[in-house]
């Protein structure tokens, strides 16, 4: 088991699943509603926790960038489901991980789940990051935005043999999320706003971005909108392919309500939940 690098599934096996399934069109991926068993509830720090969810059945294909719609039970203050990215997957053990930030009532309720309880989710939803990437890849995450990037990094490593660079920004050292997971997947660069770890400041101020020896072929990013916009400008200036994963208020998550629109250059308002959450920056009116 020594060469298994995350969760308890093997990279080899992991790669296998994806290499076989890669050409599948997102639109053909069947969406499921399923009760997962809560395996683990791991509070990382005062803001973040990780939920480990176990399926009774073989998991379907799930791609990096996709998300799930979580049903919140036991709260009079929440009504709709909540969108959460897939943070990690172990296909062999049929386990899915979500990294959640306590933002309000719904996520607080999730943090109170106990192992053994069940969580109803609709998944897999949305598109994925472009998986036909080559060369040097930079994954930039801010706060909760690191969630889809771990899965993406692992995917790139195991199926494309790309070791990505991670540039991860947090407010301070205490909020850094599972560093060992990222470190075994790629080269990690950290910024903290208070300088308590890594480079002090925002991700956009990190020397990595101004190091001319690093010539990235693609940047994939997820985080606060201001951060992603700054990165989009950077990528445009440097002519680097860049994709962003948008956060958005969702009514349904499956393309039915038209509440989650983002304005695009080519088609005007499109659904973030079905045409996204990942968008090439060229498509957005940013």
């Amino acid at each position: 088991m020594g060469n298994f690098s995350y969760g308890s599934s093997g990279i080899e096996n992991y790669a296998l699943v994806f290499i076989t399934l890669r050409p599948t069109l997102i639109a053909q991926m069947k969406k499921l509603v399923e009760n997962f068993k809560v395996n683990t509830v791991k509070q990382l720090n005062k803001e973040f926790f990780v939920l480990g969810l176990q399926s009774e059945k073989q998991l379907p294909e799930i791609l990096p960038g996709q998300f799930v719609q979580v049903k919140i039970e036991g709260s009079a203050k929440t009504f709709l489901r909540r969108p959460i990215s897939v943070y990690d997957v172990d296909f062999m053990n049929r386990t899915l991980w979500l990294l959640v930030k306590i933002a309000g009532e719904g996520t607080k309720q999730l943090s109170r789940l106990h192992p053994g309880e069940h969580l109803n989710i609709i998944y897999p939803l949305g598109n994925s990051f472009s998986l036909n990437v080559k060369g040097k890849v930079l994954l930039i995450g801010g706060g909760t935005g690191v969630a889809p990037l771990l899965f993406l990094g692992k995917y790139l490593k195991s199926t494309h043999n790309i070791t990505p660079d991670f540039l991860l920004g947090y407010r301070s050292k205490e909020l850094v999320i599972e560093p060992e997971k990222f470190e075994t997947t790629g080269n990690v660069f950290i910024t903290t706003e208070d300088g308590s770890l890594g480079h002090k400041g925002f991700v956009t101020q990190h020397p990595l971005l101004y190091d001319d020896t690093k010539k990235y072929d693609a940047i994939f990013t997820c985080g606060p909108e201001v951060m992603m916009k700054a990165i989009a400008n950077y990528a445009k200036a440097k002519n680097i392919v860049c994709e962003v994963s948008l956060e958005n208020l969702m009514g349904c998550g499956i393309g039915a309500c038209l509440c989650c629109v983002v304005d695009t250059v080519d088609e005007g308002n499109v659904n973030t939940c079905t045409e996204g959450p990942v968008f090439n920056i060229q498509r957005l009116k940013w």
């Binding site: 969406k31 929440t78 009504f79 709709l80 489901r81 039915a256």
Partner: protein, 303 residues
């Protein structure tokens, strides 16, 4: 065997459960979750003569037991519907009812006339109650002479089953119901959303780009039930009830209040299989109560 069929004008539905416009896309979005042919009908997203981009983001806000939306009838227009969507969805094995909208009587008629040509579209739902558009929409639904005029005109343009969907944002829902009945409606559906608003106390801004929006979900169920009951008691044409239906018990309450059929809206977002579950739930209720048909339940409230 219980008889689940119900009649809306000339239209016989295999069961009283439909999905509500704007909450079920064109049905396609739910193919992964349910067998659409098990439904009584699908009311598709509101269609306008020309494509519409809808309102800017943000378009929704969660509220206590409900949600506000301000989608604003985003759609690709009636021609796109006829050319691209209709061929795909007309073989679902359930009634496809098109929800139509316009900024003027002429616009409504334009859409109705074009849909009249489609074989598989045997009913339309005339939406005079959308609170999220500047022109048309709720204006028609809150001004009785306008409601009458648009119903009459669309009646002239559409020869099959005409359902008129009323706005709850009025003083007397019965007045509107009678007005559209007199002007040729075959059926009345209600309620559309209640006009509401939400504010973020932190930023001191409205949560919707349009400031106000339409309230749906269980929060509005008591108002919806009351209006269905009032309308049932004032017209002769069949009533289609909706507003906050989350399960079969809710659906049965609407039928007892006088609905010949019901529509499921917001509940689809939380449980995409809920519509079929409700079909089964109604069946079970009839069986357990030793009733033979849905017809026996319609308006069977004892009071």
């Amino acid at each position: 065997m219980v008889n689940l069929t119900t009649n809306i004008g000339n239209l016989e539905l295999k069961n009283p459960v439909m999905t509500a416009s704007g909450t079920f896309g064109f049905g396609t979005e739910y193919l992964d979750f349910i067998d659409l042919s098990l439904l009584g009908g699908i009311v598709v997203k509101g269609i306008t003569p020309k494509p519409r981009q809808g309102n800017p983001y943000p378009r929704m806000a969660e509220t206590a037991s409900g949600m506000l939306n301000a989608v604003g009838l985003q759609n690709k227009g009636v021609d796109y519907f006829i050319e691209h969507i209709y061929p795909e969805i007309s073989h679902y094995g359930t009634e496809i009812i098109v929800n139509i909208n316009g900024g003027s009587v002429e616009e409504y008629c334009e859409v109705a006339e074009k849909l009249n040509e489609l074989d598989k579209i045997r009913a339309i739902e005339l939406n005079i109650s959308c609170p999220n558009v500047k022109q048309g929409g709720m204006l028609f639904g809150t001004h009785c002479p306008s409601a009458m005029a648009v119903t009459k005109a669309v009646r002239g343009a559409f020869s099959k089953t005409l359902i008129v969907k009323l706005s709850p944002n009025v003083t007397s829902i019965a007045e509107f119901a009678k007005a559209v009945e007199d002007n040729g409606a075959d059926s009345i559906s209600l309620i559309n959303t209640l006009l509401g608003m939400a504010i973020d106390a932190k930023t001191r801004r409205p949560l919707l780009s349009t400031v106000t929006g339409g309230l749906s979900g269980p929060a509005i169920k008591p108002v919806a039930l009351r209006m269905v009951w009032q309308v049932y008691n004032s017209v002769k044409i069949p009533v289609i009830g909706m507003g906050g239906i989350m399960n079969a018990t809710d659906a049965i309450e609407f039928i007892l209040a006088g609905a010949s059929a019901i529509q499921i809206g917001t509940a689809n977002f939380i449980n995409p299989a809920v519509s079929v579950e409700i079909v089964n739930g109604i069946k079970t209720y009839l069986e357990q109560n030793k009733l033979e048909s849905v017809a026996q339940l319609i308006g069977a409230l004892e009071c």
